[in-house]
């Protein structure tokens, strides 16, 4: 990829378009290998899981914060108030101004609450956070989040952890077409081909966790996702050209035949 194709979020430049979640890995070592082979530059961490105070936290020690953006998330928050509290706590403890906003009152499917998410996003943006909200694939919600100043939107491909791939295709297409901020497809991507599909659709990045964390070989799978993300991006940018031919020769012109004669005698003059 060229430098000009870097992903820019809130003024920060990223070469990799694959974000990695850190839940469900069998060990800190497995996570470290996945981070290494995916070449990810954004790693999201559940605030409730890590000890930001400790320099020895197993997850945090795997993340080279010089190169990788640590993206604390508010997973577990059931409403705006809880999410805001978590984000503020994260900042107090040195987690920085970036936050992946997750508000999931439903403990079974972990589906995001659009109303509470928007409420929290508006407040956090005003407090100077770079907010990356996890949401259902709702185009109107995305526009509202963009308006309140979110850095990205992160619509789900299918319910989190289900590995079903992109089940929200029609809405994702609309979101991608309409968005003025980066769109990161988050949740449900179970195979590298799902990541490639998201990128081919025009997503700016993808976030993967479960599919890598529970794979037989997380490092190899992370590598496959890296390649798939890049392949999808290249395909989006460069394929199709030259592969098509005109649908048919225009032997007759029923729709444009009227153009054989100019409609007005105004050559060169108004």
């Amino acid at each position: 990829m060229t430098e000009s194709d870097d992903l820019i979020i809130a003024g920060r430049r990223f070469k990799s378009r694959l974000f990695l979640g850190t839940g469900k890995f069998s060990s800190g070592a497995a996570l470290g290998q996945a981070i290494h082979s995916s070449e990810t530059e954004v790693v999201t961490v559940a605030l409730r899981r890590v000890d930001l105070n400790s320099g020895e936290d197993d997850i945090l020690t795997r993340i080279d914060r010089e190169r990788i953006l640590l993206l604390p998330n508010t997973s577990g928050a059931r409403d705006a108030e809880e999410a805001i509290r978590l984000a503020r706590l994260s900042r107090e403890l040195g987690g920085g101004d970036w936050v992946k906003l997750e508000v999931t009152p439903d403990p079974v499917y972990l589906l995001p609450d659009p109303i509470e998410t928007l409420k929290a996003a508006e407040i956090l943006v005003k407090e100077g956070f770079h907010v990356l909200p996890y949401i259902n694939a709702d185009p109107i919600l995305c526009k509202h989040l963009e308006e309140v100043g979110c850095a990205t939107v992160m619509p789900l491909g299918s319910p989190i952890g289900t590995n079903q791939g992109i089940r929200t295709l029609a809405n994702l297409e609309i979101i991608i077409e309409q968005s003025n901020i980066p769109v990161v497809v988050d949740a449900g991507l179970g195979l590298p081909s799902h990541a490639a599909q998201a990128m081919e659709l025009g997503a700016d990045a993808v976030l993967v966790n479960t599919a890598i964390a529970i794979a037989k070989d997380p490092a190899k799978t992370a590598y496959a996702f890296k390649l798939a993300t890049e392949a999808g991006r290249i395909s989006r940018l460069y394929s199709n050209s030259g592969t098509s031919t005109s649908k048919k020769a225009s032997a007759s012109s029923p729709l444009t035949g009227f153009l054989e004669e100019e409609s007005r005698n105004v050559h060169g003059v108004i």
Binding site: S250, L255, T256
Partner: protein, 378 residues
């Protein structure tokens, strides 16, 4: 604001971007259309290229398909009402130009009423009110009082007046105006300064950002357009597509419409219009349709009956009819028109043509109830 995007590339670079497209690029764009998707901006530029003429029939088919899919078999009809031909600006191509020694007129309340009665009796419920660029005579208060009269006759009122600031637009929206139309005339800064000699209209950038201010104020519909014939049409089409796309993405609650008038004879001695052929004009319209699939494409009576008959519903969705471009022209009066019109058919004849084509002429597609809360709900 659009000017930020505008400043990223010059007019001549924009023109070159279109003309550098290849046959392969055009075929790729058609491939996108063929697979049922709207083309992206680069593909749109490809379809503007002269070589796309080879595929004009194919573009027409896709254009027809998109228009049907998004707008159905309907054509929205409106009529323009010129409130005033007073103008403090000098635009060398315009009949209302300050320099032109023509009789000037601004409609008073009873004249606005008389005009409204004529349009209303023809079944028209969508009106576009126009003025010249005189912000002292046709000032905000004048416009507000005009809208108050018009409201009792029309369900939808749009304005095509001099650019205003956001706060003034908000006042007009509050009064009941629903749509804003701002033609940029030309997106070429060099030509713009050459043809706009004096008056407020000389400020190109203030005009360029007027649709943004309208979007921020909350208009439900915003129309943009370029007057083909003033500068290089490829540069204009690059900018117009870019501008409309930008607006529709940024002001997502607002419907963006596009007009593409070609120069017409007018009072004055302007003889430098760049010729845009029917074929080019139609290619541009098809390219816009395949790119901005949800944008209404507006066509006025400047075009010929033949052109209007064929383009209605493919890709045109909104049409003016039986237009007069002189203040008070509908209810009888002097000849003070802004420019010549080409299609002079009466509404009955025009709607008959639409019906024969299987199109439904729509006279009303908005309701004042969106603005006015009934007492029982307040």
């Amino acid at each position: 604001m659009y000017t930020e995007l505008f400043d990223k590339i010059s007019f001549s670079e924009a023109k070159d971007r279109v003309l550098s497209k290849s046959k392969l690029d055009i075929e790729s764009a058609l491939h996108t259309s063929h697979s049922g998707k709207a083309v992206n901006f680069e593909e749109y530029l490809s379809l503007l290229h002269p070589s796309a003429d080879t595929y004009l029939e194919e573009m027409a088919e896709y254009s027809l398909g998109w228009t049907k899919k998004r707008f159905g078999n309907t054509i929205s009809l409106y009529m323009p009402m010129y409130l005033s031909n007073e103008c403090r600006s000098s635009c060398v191509y315009c009949g209302f130009s300050f320099e032109n020694k023509i009789p000037r007129k601004t409609l008073n309340r009873s004249e606005i009423q008389a005009e409204s009665e004529v349009l209303h009796s023809k079944g028209i419920r969508h009106v576009l009110i126009l003025t010249g660029e005189d912000y002292s005579i046709t000032n905000l208060e004048y416009l507000r009082s005009a809208v108050r009269i018009l409201k009792s006759y029309f369900d939808s009122i749009s304005i095509e007046i001099y650019p205003m600031d956001k706060e003034k637009y908000e006042v007009l929206i509050e009064e009941g105006v629903e749509g804003l139309v701002v033609y940029q005339e030309t997106y070429d800064p060099e030509t713009y300064s050459k043809y706009h000699l004096r008056g407020m209209k000389k400020n190109m950038r203030y005009r360029l950002d007027a649709p943004d201010r309208g979007g921020l104020a909350g208009f439900r519909r915003i129309g943009v357009g370029a007057l083909l014939g003033l500068s290089d049409p490829y540069g204009e089409m690059f900018r117009l597509g870019e501008h409309a796309h930008y607006l529709s993405k940024k002001y997502w609650r607002t419907t963006v419409q596009i007009s593409l008038p070609r120069m017409r004879p007018a009072e004055g001695e302007f003889d430098k219009a760049i010729y845009v052929s029917d074929r080019e004009y139609v290619r541009f319209l098809f390219a816009l349709r395949l790119f901005l699939t949800d944008s209404g494409l507006v066509q006025s009576t400047r075009e010929s009956t033949q052109m209007r008959n064929h383009l209605a519903g493919m890709p045109i969705t909104h049409m003016s009819v039986e237009s007069r471009t002189d203040p008070g022209g509908y209810s009888g009066g002097e000849e003070l028109k802004q420019f010549e019109i080409e299609d002079t058919r009466k509404i009955e004849e025009f709607t008959e043509m639409l019906k024969k084509k299987g199109l439904d002429p729509v006279f009303k597609d908005f309701d004042r109830a969106f603005f006015q809360v009934p007492d029982r709900m307040s």
